[in-house]
Amino acid sequence: MEIEKQIQRLQDRLSYIRDIFGPKDNPNRQLLEARLGEFLARGNGLSLAEQVRQVTQLEDLFRFLEKKLDAELTPMDRVRIVRHPQRMCLKDILENVYDNYSEIGGQDEYSIDPSMLIARAYISRRVGKKVHNQPVMVIGQEKGHGQEFRNGGSVKPWGNDKALKYMRVAQTENIPIHAFIFTPGAYPVEDYPGAAQQIARNLYEMAGLTVPIVAVFSEGGSGGAEAIGLADYRLMLSHGYYSVISPEGAAAIEGKTRQGQRVAPELIEACARQLKMTAADNKAMGYVDQVIQEPPLGARPDDYEFFKLLRGELIRATNQVILSVRGLKFFRAMALSRKSKAAAAAVDPESVFVRWSIGSGPRELLAWRRWIKFRGLAQAAYLDRRTTAQKIFSIGQDLAWSLNSFFRYEFLGKHRKKLERFVEEMEAEARVVKDKVAAPVVKIGRRLGVGGNSQLAEAERDSLTKLSNPEAGTCLTDESWAYLSPRARTDRAVTCPNAATHGCLDLWAPDLFGDFAGVCSHCGHHFPMEYEWYLYNVFDQASIHEFNREIEAGNPLSYPGFDQKLAEAKEKTGLKSACMTFEARINGLNLVVALLAAPFRGGTVGAAEGEKFIRAVERAKKKHYPLLAYVHGTAGIRIQEGVNGVIQMPRCTMAVRNYIEAGGLYLVLYDTNSYAGPVASFLGCSPYQFAIRSANIGFAGPGVIKETTGIDIPPDYHLAHQALTRGHIQGIWDRREARKNIYQALLTMGGRNLYYR
């Protein structure tokens, strides 16, 4: 019987290889097929001993060739490995890595979202004579070996909400979080709490969690991965991938295919390679801290050695994170340090005990260190064209602002308040004295001035009929916009898309795009407007001061053909990246603005945009200015930058969190199509999000939703008023009132620590 099991196992291994390498010709696979075939053909005629001998030989051959195949895996092969139903999944890890666990927040299909699995797990070990039971919160996507209801690990918005809930529980219980990422991407529906908004919320909360977070990446598909992947220590399995988008998705965009069309497999292969999504690539770029070697052709549920390795690395990583923020650690830290591989290998992580609950001081430090870690990422992925002198100058300027704001707000602030209060009191006292003294004089004056005059006095009459405030000029209403769209210079009639339903008459382009600011005067439909319109019509005249213009979008992955596309975008728009950061004033109030301009590569966010955004946030924080993210339009993360782009999601969100925690006011204003990564992170996390009526807000466009979920969405699915209904935004503004509304927001919203408060 034993021998038949062995043969069966070999057959399984062969079919697995077939699945991974597909129909391509592969000599190794063919060799295995031929040998196994030969053996099976002869099989029954041989003696048992001979069979055993040949099976053992075959097993050796399999082992040898699997290693060989493993060496020549293409990125796309790895994608197929992680998606294979036989790949080990989170349940296997819970069984094999942890000593005890119970699933919480639902079980199997009886869960709010079966693709998000939460477990309270224990790692028990004996160190010396003592047994330690260390609890952790395990959070991760469950692919469930192809179980239909698991949805392939594609987590719905409420699944991410569930994850967030138990992260908060871990925070309360002061236990570490182990996050396992097994997702091709989030399920892109907008139903409450909304795919994008929930991921943004998760990122925002994780940025401030004060318990250690260790993440393990197996399949890290874009936004879905980020929803639980913001970690202090990021481990990656050697056969996994971590990418901005699935290779198929990238190929569909690259090949400009329409919905329903098939993409050429070669293009998908090429995209998988160009996106640099493998563990080695990510380690090299610094987006994961460590790669865990899997057995050849990837870990499957019975690779027990692998689980043991994983357990060790998880313990080591958790220990290391905790030791990095705690005193009394010297020897243990040295023992865990991975600087010398040999030394590390010699120490069994199980033998080093570190208490996993930490005190309040180190807890604060933990979040800070996490920020520092992410702040330093992707620094090589953008072009900084500043000269050394300019760099030194900007460092000096930063320092000066820090000093200035310290003195103004921390040091003098308290004393000034006291002084003001004193002056106020004294004035009130003085007034009482003055009134008492002056009272008799006023009485006499009243008696002298004879009253009872029914005629309106000349002066009173004048105040009703003479020009008031002559200095304001005659024309109070002669308002014309400071910037006119180029479309306002064409002599043509424009038909409103609502004409059929609302009976709007055709509008003349100069009226529509000039006087009406692109708003249909009949139904209020907002035509999209150039971002320059806002620059000139929202902010005070000539108050815009741009900074960090020298930071330019680059091509960090050397993506073929992308250099030229970037050059074209720069040429066409005159911008150096999709993000323009500047200081400006509205009615005299200073604010920092980060603008995402749709004409530059669809307003996509890459390393340069993220860096500029973060620097703008830091500037606003230093100067105690309010911060406005004006999203003229964004199509998401720039896929050609791969993880360099995706990593901007946690980075920018953390910057925003620091700013808000410091008492700032962070406003987001969406103007046109605003989708995907940015909305699912640093934009969606704002408590004050507003939209111009022309906005569409969401996670994925209609095409992607149809392709990934099979749902046909109605055409108004992403409209601003739907986002308002779902609670994703807090208001819809008329474009012509953007200035007024922003000013109102600056006065009334957020921020205990703004310079003008």
């Binding site: 009703l464 020009l467 008031s468 002669d478 003349w508 100069p510 009226d511």
Partner: protein
């Protein structure tokens, strides 16, 4: 003198379209008319067909669709657009479009800048105040301060009692509002504050601007007008006297207009009426000169029972009642004056050719607006079929009407139910009144509606009002 023969697009309907076509014929210009399906039987359609043939008629879906009207202008090869009154007459955007489009046309009316400047009431008020022209007392800019607003309201109440008005109403308006939204009436000063606060909060919520205007509603005043004309140089501005338009319907629409505005020679006033007429004419000219007024226009005035004039607004267009001013006017001794023709003539670039000294104003003229409506029922319009419509022809009578006298006519429900304008002239007001009564007595107007009801008209109302015309 003219390099090319102009062709005027008549972008209007009914009575004014007829007058424009007639003026074009008089000036030797081509014209093209538009009409909607509902208006196929209107007099202007018949006139255009008769004088210009089918090629001078285009059917449009709406008189309100600028793109369609301009498409007609292009198709017909028109070179100028006359908007008449209503519709696009005071729409500066349409005027701007006409003159700035790729194939520019001549706009027969004030330049779009003038329309824009004088089209805004607050703007006009501030302009007038700068020129020391009296305007209706009240605020000329949004007020944000509660004490200032209350103070102004108190003064307005004092003003109203001083001027002898028996009903006192102060209006609080949201300055960012419009279309009747955000207006409240206050009748006593002690409730002002609460009304003001309510409106201010409403305005802040609704329009994001808490500025309010403090104005007043006046009752029992006389409504006077000054007829102005200027040429495109903007330097030659003349007037054609005053009109009194105080006889109005319940909805404040004019029913009888009289030129001149007062008759001090025949009627006793409690104030110096001749001086008032003189003053408002001077004031109107002052503003017209300031803005370089370049077409026909009307300055509307309120005269209080104590004889104080206040500028209300400026109408930057030809008005319905231009005929009464034309009827008493003569240029170089030749009258009456066709103001529509003058408007077209100067718009096409001809200089005015005369000054104020050559304009003579003599006698009196009354215009009756004959309308199918029920004056006893708040002037509700009457809809039906007119079977008989006729009057005795007289040398002192001009009737402008698009309603045929030879065939029955169904009143279209889509447009206002104005049937005819009858202009009666006389040596003095007494003669004009007597002739007016004679005309009304001889007028034949009968019809039935779908329910078999008799036609209702305002003829009795007009007759009743004739006696007291210009008495104030």
């Amino acid at each position: 003198m003219k390099a090319k023969r102009h062709k005027v697009l008549v972008a209007n309907r009914g009575e004014i379209a007829i007058r424009i076509v007639n003026a074009c014929l008089k000036l030797g210009l081509d014209f093209v008319c538009v009409h909607t399906r509902e208006d196929h039987a209107s007099g202007h359609v018949r006139l255009a067909r008769e004088m210009g043939g089918e090629k001078s008629l285009y059917r449009v879906a709406s008189y309100h669709d600028a793109s369609e009207l301009l498409a007609v202008a292009d198709a017909a090869g028109a070179t100028a657009v006359h908007p008449g009154y209503g519709f696009f007459a005071e729409d500066f955007r349409f005027a701007r479009r006409v003159v700035t489009r790729d194939r520019p046309l001549t706009w027969i009316g004030p330049s779009w800048r003038v329309i824009r400047e004088l089209g805004d009431k607050i703007n006009t008020k501030r302009l007038a105040r700068r020129l020391n022209v009296p305007t209706v007392p009240g605020s000329d800019r949004p007020i944000y301060d509660e004490l200032e607003a209350e103070d102004m309201a108190a003064k307005l109440f004092a003003f109203q009692s001083e001027q002898g008005f028996d009903q006192h109403v102060v209006l609080v308006k949201a300055s960012a509002g419009g279309g009747g939204m955000g207006i409240e009436e206050v009748e006593r000063i002690d409730v002002f504050k609460s009304v003001y606060r309510r409106l201010r909060n409403y305005a802040k919520r609704q329009f994001l601007d808490e500025g309010v205007l403090i104005e007043q509603r006046l009752f029992g005043f006389n409504h006077l007008e000054v007829q102005i004309l200027g040429d495109t140089s903007g330097k030659n501005v003349v007037h054609f006297g005053t009109r009194n338009c105080s006889v109005q319907s319940a909805g404040r629409q004019k029913r009888i207009e009289v030129a001149p505005g007062f008759a001090p020679a025949e009627i006793n006033y409690r104030f110096d009426a001749a001086r008032v007429l003189n003053d408002i004419t001077e004031y109107s000219l002052r503003i017209a000169r300031e803005v370089c007024y370049d077409s026909v226009g009307t300055w509307e005035w309120i005269v209080t029972p104590k004889g104080e004039p206040f500028l209300m607004e400026v109408n930057t267009r030809i008005q319905v009642e231009n005929g009464v001013s034309g009827a008493i006017a003569a240029i170089g001794g030749i009258g009456p004056v066709d103001l529509v023709a003058e408007q077209i003539r100067v718009a096409l670039g001809e200089p005015l050719g005369y000054d104020q000294g050559r304009i003579g104003l003599k006698g009196a003229s009354i215009e009756y607006r004959i309308i199918a409506e029920d004056p006893d029922n708040r002037f509700a319009p009457w809809v039906g079929r007119i079977e008989r419509f006729d009057w005795r022809r007289e040398p002192w009578l001009t009737v402008h009407s698009h309603v045929p006298t030879d065939t029955p006519y169904e009143i279209p429900t889509e447009y206002d139910p104005n049937l005819a304008l009858a202009i009666v002239t006389g040596q003095d007001l007494a003669e004009a009144k007597a002739r007016g009564l004679a005309f009304l007595d001889g007028l034949v107007l009968a019809g039935r509606n779908a329910g078999g009801g008799e036609l209702k008209s305002n003829v009795d109302f007009l007759r009743k009002k004739t006696d007291t015309l210009l008495v104030f």
